[in-house]
């Protein structure tokens, strides 16, 4: 792609996104994302699952922008309770508590929140800029991918997800297989009905929304309600230490910003790099970034007592992951995380087909996504800067109210998808299974990711089979063979890694 084309795409995207309707969508997404991110147990993925029903009337790019706004904001929102009450709202904010909570306790809660916010802005903008720069390269690679390579990429993605998203590799593959099978239910484009057993509800297949809500959001609501019915007191104590008035010295000065800049930049690089890897996500990024900060900081020996660098790095990494995770999602059709899976599902539902060709065929859409992400980060910065006190109030909500309200939102949201009560019942069924499987630490995420990826994989496999006649000819194409070999290697590596972790258990296989 020539630089002139990139510039015109860039300018066109800016013009199309700086409109009142888009800014309202971004603002709503940011506010909703922060609120859901603050709620303990609710990560970005659960936030996106709950917000899914609000997107039915939006078009493709509006939905993606709204979801990305909520995704980025939820990552920031998760840090608010981590900083103020030592309760990470999202798993990736868990590492933030180590330095942020002591720093806030020393009388600097507002400064800590501002460090987190600034880190998020820098991480988000830098990782987006890196991706825009890499766009032409991804488009060039996209032209080299045919259906057999696309199928192999899908296998590779599922192999990584199965191997690294659960405790046991075998459970990961079992979960993946169930997800792939579930997605084949219904009317097939390749002839007749599959696994419908003459039940008319299944003719159109199980809706993605039902699976997303059932596997991601419903177990969380069950957890909130069931745990709150089992005993008194556990959920009523939050936000006891919220400051009533901010201290005048409690601010992020320009000098401090300059001192923390290397940490912001290191965190951004770590987050972008880790975000690109399917299955890694914000939690891994923030842990790696924290360790890097401890290694690089002159005050490394003080880590654990509230050192600013320990907040700046992981928080930048956290947010840089959002743009990083879009690389495998948009370029390969592999959702690297649950949040990316929801995003991918929404995009497919709106007729946008992710994959290497997306960068070549719809560069305008891709550019809009990334310019949108930069605008989202700026809006998030403004909303976060002004609304700290208001959002901190959300941490006061007890589980006894939160659980039922979330549950009813899930039920109504699922019903409103097609005004079909059976959707709600099926989502409830998925929720029960998901809740029990989560309790026994059986990975459910590969099931969801496989469900989202199946249509693309099957279509490419059958296109490849019609081009090259049989499966062996498909697999022996050079690039396909290399990618499939990588898939097998990652599965073997994942198994060996799990064997190292628990030698007794693995030795029995």
């Amino acid at each position: 792609m020539e630089s002139g084309v990139v510039t015109s795409l860039l300018w066109g995207s800016v013009q199309s996104l700086i409109t009142p309707s888009f800014l309202v969508i971004i603002l709503l997404g940011v506010i909703a994302g922060i609120i859901f991110g603050i709620l303990p147990g609710f990560g970005a993925a659960q936030a996106l699952a709950l917000l899914f029903p609000f997107t039915y009337s939006m078009d493709g790019i509006q939905v993606v922008i709204f979801m990305l706004a909520a995704y980025s904001a939820a990552e920031y929102g998760g840090s608010i309770p981590a900083i103020l009450i030592r309760t990470p709202g999202t798993p990736s904010a868990a590492i933030t508590t180590i330095e942020a909570y002591p720093l806030a306790q020393r009388g600097f809660p507002r400064k800590t929140l501002r460090i987190s916010l600034t880190a998020g802005l820098i991480g988000g903008v830098l990782s987006t800029a890196a991706f825009i720069a890499a766009g032409p390269l991804l488009a060039w690679i996209g032209l080299r991918f045919g259906p057999s390579e696309m199928f192999a990429v899908g296998v590779f993605g599922l192999s990584i997800i199965s191997s690294f998203l659960g405790g046991s590799v075998l459970n990961g593959f079992l979960s993946t297989a169930v997800g792939l099978w579930l997605a084949t239910i219904g009317n097939s484009d390749f002839g007749g009905m599959r696994f419908t057993f003459d039940w008319s509800y299944l003719y159109d297949g199980i809706p993605l929304l039902v699976v997303i809500i059932g596997i991601l959001a419903m177990p969380e609501a069950f957890r909130l309600i069931c745990s709150s019915t089992m005993g008194e007191g556990a959920d009523e104590t939050q936000a006891a230490h919220l400051p009533r008035k901010w201290n005048a010295k409690d601010r992020l000065s320009w000098l401090e910003f300059k001192r923390l800049l290397p940490s912001f930049l290191r965190g951004s690089v770590v987050g972008t790099a880790i975000g690109i890897m399917p299955g890694a996500g914000g939690t891994v990024a923030s842990i790696v970034s924290y360790n890097e900060e401890r290694r690089w900081s002159k005050r490394g020996h003080l880590f654990g007592s509230g050192v600013e660098e320990g907040v700046a790095g992981p928080e930048a990494a956290n947010n840089a992951v959002v743009a990083g995770a879009l690389v495998p999602t948009l370029a390969l059709g592999i959702p690297g995380s649950a949040s990316a899976a929801v995003l991918l599902g929404v995009m497919i539902g709106k007729g946008v087909v992710p994959g290497p060709l997306l960068f070549h065929d719809q560069p305008g859409f891709v550019m809009q996504v990334f310019i949108g992400l930069i605008i989202i980060n700026l809006v998030l910065y403004g909303v976060g800067w002004m609304g700290t006190n208001v959002f901190a109030w959300v941490t006061r909500l007890p589980n006894s109210i939160l659980g039922p309200v979330v549950m009813i939102l899930i039920l109504i949201g699922t019903y409103s998808y097609r005004t079909e009560f059976m959707d709600v019942v099926i989502a409830l069924g998925f929720g029960v299974v998901g809740y029990i499987l989560e309790k026994i630490k059986f990975p459910t995420l590969p099931m969801l990711l496989a469900f989202v990826m199946q249509p693309i994989m099957e279509e490419n496999l059958l296109r490849a089979l019609s081009l090259y006649n049989d499966i062996f000819s498909v697999m022996s194409r050079p690039l396909t063979a290399v990618i499939l070999l990588l898939a097998v290697s990652s599965a073997v590596w994942g198994y060996l890694r799990s064997r190292q972790k628990s030698p007794d258990a693995a030795a029995t296989l």
């Binding site: 009337s57 593959f173 079992l174 297989a177 007749g192 069931c226 019915t229 549950m407 809740y435 199946q454």
Partner: protein, 167 residues
């Protein structure tokens, strides 16, 4: 209720093998219309093959673990069965009743019962349930124009004022 994760894993894997084999048998009845031979069955068979293979290996691993250790390898986990069953039954009843009798009253009662379980008060849960139900009605029905089965509340914002005057 406390259950052994290992036991559930074993039961799940066994169910996957039996169910997977049956589904595999089902793929033999798919009718192809695409040019590729057996097209609709190709992908489901690959998925089922992967699942059956992983489930068999899981069963072998679990059985070996059980033979090697006297007790289950993983400590029992509490799945809070009583609360879960109550929640699921209440939700199913709510879905059925809301379908027949409209969204308004069942939603308030459903929320009230869930909140009351923990608070053990009468008025605060009732107030919260009422406020939450009204908020849901305003957001979903009036703002997002999603069709919920309404008994007496108006469907459109323009009808709200005349409706309130009529009260």
């Amino acid at each position: 209720m406390k259950v052994h994760g290992d036991k559930i894993e074993l039961v799940t894997a066994t169910a996957c093998v039996i169910g997977g084999l049956y589904m595999f048998y089902e793929t033999g009845f798919f009718k192809a219309s695409a040019s590729v031979s057996g097209a609709p069955a190709v992908f489901p068979r690959l998925a089922l093959g992967l699942g059956i293979g992983a489930a068999i290996l899981t069963i072998i691993r679990k059985l070996r673990e059980l033979r090697q250790t006297s007790a289950m390898a993983v400590a029992p986990v509490d799945i809070e069965l009583k609360a879960l069953v109550f929640l699921v039954v209440l939700t199913v009843v709510y879905i059925v009743v809301a379908d027949m009798a409209g969204f308004e009253i069942p939603t308030v009662i459903y929320l009230y019962l869930l909140i009351y379980q923990r608070m053990r008060e009468y008025w605060r849960p009732a107030l919260i349930a009422l406020v939450a139900s009204i908020a849901i009605y305003v957001v979903f029905v009036l703002l997002l124009q999603i069709r919920l089965p309404l008994l007496f509340l108006p469907e459109y914002a323009s009808e709200l004022l005349p409706w309130l005057k009529g009260l």
